[in-house]
């Protein structure tokens, strides 16, 4: 299970950017990581202390905790190719 993806998406309430990010990551995972991912959506308004742990300052932020190393992507994830690049999905799929 080397190529399992553990992702956390930090959002702040039901803002348009939050909703867009949730939609985008759901679509992305379904497309590129079917069956080998978990996405946890964390609403910082409910759990603000989580922001400290993952050094969150921008909203929304996607954190890849697995595979290592830890990666952060800020934004609503609308530019798919950058997310794919940032999560190293293409490289790992090829190998």
């Amino acid at each position: 299970m080397d190529d399992r993806y553990d992702l956390r998406l930090y959002v702040a309430g039901q803002t348009p950017k939050s909703l867009a990010a949730i939609a985008n990551i759901t679509w992305l995972c379904g497309r590129y990581l079917p069956g080998r991912h978990s996405v946890e959506v964390i609403n910082l308004l409910d759990e603000p202390h989580h922001a400290v742990i993952d050094l969150i300052f921008a909203m929304p932020t996607l954190v890849r905790s697995l595979p290592k190393p830890l990666k952060r992507i800020v934004g609503d994830l609308s530019t798919t190719e950058r997310v794919v690049l940032g999560l190293d999905i293409a490289a790992r799929s090829a190998s």
């Binding site: 930090y10 702040a12 803002t15 950017k17 867009a20 990010a21 985008n24 910082l44 308004l45 603000p48 202390h49 922001a51 400290v52 050094l55 969150i56 300052f57 921008a58 909203m59 929304p60 932020t61 830890l70 990666k71 952060r72 992507i73 800020v74 934004g75 609503d76 994830l77 609308s78 530019t79 950058r82 997310v83 690049l85 940032g86």
Partner: protein, 585 residues
């Protein structure tokens, strides 16, 4: 402390005091309580420390918890950096009086994909603030965002929102920013924070650093407008609002001793006025420092607090050297009345020297100060003069009696090397070398002394094991006699005095013997009188006997002739008449 506070009206704006000595005075109370304040400056000029001091003072002195948002240093580093200032950051954090939010932004770990905002920052800040009920916030430094995130449009919009958000929450916030080229901040933060802007400056001139602080703007409040030097050392930050020259200082009629009895005697009042200034100028080795130390010892003996600013000798050296002249400064230092401040004149700039001096004066509150020597300040004459002028003003406005020593070289004599100091001084004592008869002697005279009569004599003085001793002036044919000439004169006087004493004794003896002679003569005369009296008595007695014998003879003759017959002569003895007659003689 500064005149500004009294001259300007009370501020209308609610303010959050920083607790930084001097800064609150310049700000007339503190930074605005419900608005962000921008502090900008080049690296290493103390922005972070100022922010941390603001929070720690707020937590410890004003009961206002604070949140420090660090974009650069870790909480551990921050705590370690200020631990030397006795700021107990971990303790304050444990007491929930302080929170440190470290927002680490590492460009290499972050990708940007699509639209985003800084809501996460708001959430974290809001969370931290709510956790401890913070009233104060420091953001150090927001520019890390610009360095690590590429979407400047988003950043600017978000920062504008952040400052509005801080304002809405009524927080006293300090935002630090790097100084930019030609602008206050590198990323133009001053466009968003325009209520209060403080500029820190770290200027190096002639390899000497001077830190300065200026309030660029402060909406809704008056403030000090000058550049104020500030100190950044083991005492933390101290801003020193150098008060401008004023002549409105208190005047005292009290006279204090200079510590040298002979010098006191030369000055008409037996010393110098309390709060006045005494300049002691002299050539090398003339004992200026010893005179200064005498004054310090005298001040401490009176119970006055005293600071000895020594720019040439270390405290230990000074104590030892003046100790050889019988002046014990160590005991006064131990009793806490005397403090030494030893700094090389070149160790920092003039402004810093003044700032340092002013801080020490305000902290120790001495009533006597020695500055030894003022001539050790090197630089353009005009600057040195301005420095000394302000130094004198600082001391005078505090009513501190001050002794300045000033080094003159033999060629210059007086008036040349004093930077025009003399006109600022109340009393000026000049120590001179007098070379004559193949030797060098020390002379001292009072060049001027305002408000009192003073001796016009050049007096010789000696540096003895019991301090400075002034010697009676001898006027010879060619002037004042000193050294061996004086000794010769003294020896001569001693001989003359001895002669005089001998003469008096001789006179006394002579008078005594004459008196004895006269008394003897009187006794003889008395004896003569007595002898004469005795002779007279003997003659009278003889005469009586003779008379009695005569009467007896006559009576016997009469009886023999039978005169007794008429009886009238019998009522009175015949000798009675003779006795009466003699008694009348």
């Amino acid at each position: 402390m500064t005149p500004m506070q009294t001259e300007l009206p009370a501020p209308q704006l609610a303010k959050a005091p920083t607790g930084i000595p001097g800064l609150d005075e310049v700000l007339l109370g503190g930074i605005p309580a419900g608005r962000p304040t921008l502090i900008c400056g080049s690296p290493g000029c103390g922005k972070t420390l100022l922010g941390m001091t603001f929070l720690v003072n707020g937590a410890t002195q004003f009961g206002e918890p604070g949140v420090f948002v660090s974009f650069e240093e870790t909480p551990q580093d921050l705590a370690a950096n200020v631990a030397s200032l006795s700021f107990d950051v971990p303790g304050l954090i444990a007491e929930k009086k302080l929170a440190i939010e470290h927002i680490r932004i590492e460009r290499s770990e972050i990708d940007e994909a699509g639209d985003y905002d800084l809501e996460g920052l708001f959430v974290r800040l809001g969370y931290a603030i709510d956790q401890i009920g913070a009233k104060r916030v420091v953001l150090d430094t927001l520019e890390a965002l610009f360095a690590n995130l590429s979407n400047e449009a988003v950043l600017r919009a978000e920062l504008r929102r952040l400052f509005g958000w801080l304002k809405d929450r009524g927080l006293a916030a300090i935002i630090t920013a790097e100084r930019g080229e030609g602008t206050l901040t590198r990323h133009g933060l001053e466009e968003y924070i325009s209520d209060c802007v403080i500029l820190l400056d770290n200027r190096v001139q002639d390899q000497v650093t001077t830190r300065r602080l200026r309030i660029v703007k402060f909406r809704g409040s008056a403030h000090g407008t000058n550049e104020y030097p500030f100190l950044l050392d083991d005492q933390g930050i101290t801003v020193v609002p150098l008060s401008s020259a004023g002549l409105g200082h208190r005047v005292s009629d009290e006279v204090v001793s200079t510590g040298v009895p002979g010098l006191d005697a030369m000055l008409g009042l037996g010393g110098i006025y309390r709060g006045s200034s005494l300049l002691i100028s002299g050539v090398p080795g003339s004992g200026k420092t010893i005179l200064g130390a005498s004054f310090a010892a005298a001040a401490c003996t009176r119970g006055d607090r005293c600071i000895f600013f020594s720019f040439e000798e270390s405290a230990e050296l000074l104590v030892r050297n003046v100790g050889s002249a019988g002046i014990d400064l160590q005991q006064h230092a131990r009793s806490g009345l005397l403090r030494f401040e030893t700094k090389r004149p070149t160790s920092f700039g003039f402004e810093m020297h003044l700032a340092h001096m002013q801080r020490e004066l305000d902290r120790f509150r001495p009533s006597a100060v020695i500055v030894d020597p003022v001539t050790s300040f090197r630089g353009p004459d005009s600057e040195v003069h301005a420095l000394l002028l302000r130094m004198i003003d600082i001391l005078k406005t505090r009513g501190i009696t001050t002794i300045f020593t000033s080094l003159t070289t033999s060629e210059e004599r007086v008036a040349q090397s004093d930077f025009g100091l003399s006109s600022l001084m109340d009393t000026w004592v000049s120590l001179v070398d007098i070379e004559s008869n193949g030797e060098r002697n020390r002379g001292l005279y009072a060049l001027k002394s305002r408000g009192m009569s003073h001796s016009n004599q050049i007096r010789e003085y000696l540096l003895t094991g019991e301090g400075v001793r002034l010697i009676k002036a001898y006027l010879g044919v060619a002037g004042v006699l000193m050294g061996s000439a004086r000794l010769a004169k003294e020896a001569q006087e001693r001989v003359e005095a001895q002669q005089q004493r001998d003469e008096v004794a001789r006179c006394r003896r002579e008078v005594g013997s004459r008196r004895a002679v006269t008394e003897r003569q009187i006794a003889e005369l008395y004896a003569e009188i007595e002898a004469q009296d005795a002779e007279a008595a003997r003659l009278i007695a003889q005469d009586e006997l003779r008379e009695m014998a005569f009467e007896t003879d006559r009576a016997a003759m009469g009886a023999s002739r039978g005169v007794y017959g008429n009886g009238e002569d019998k009522s009175q003895p015949p000798g009675q008449t003779l006795y009466d007659t003699r008694a009348r003689v």
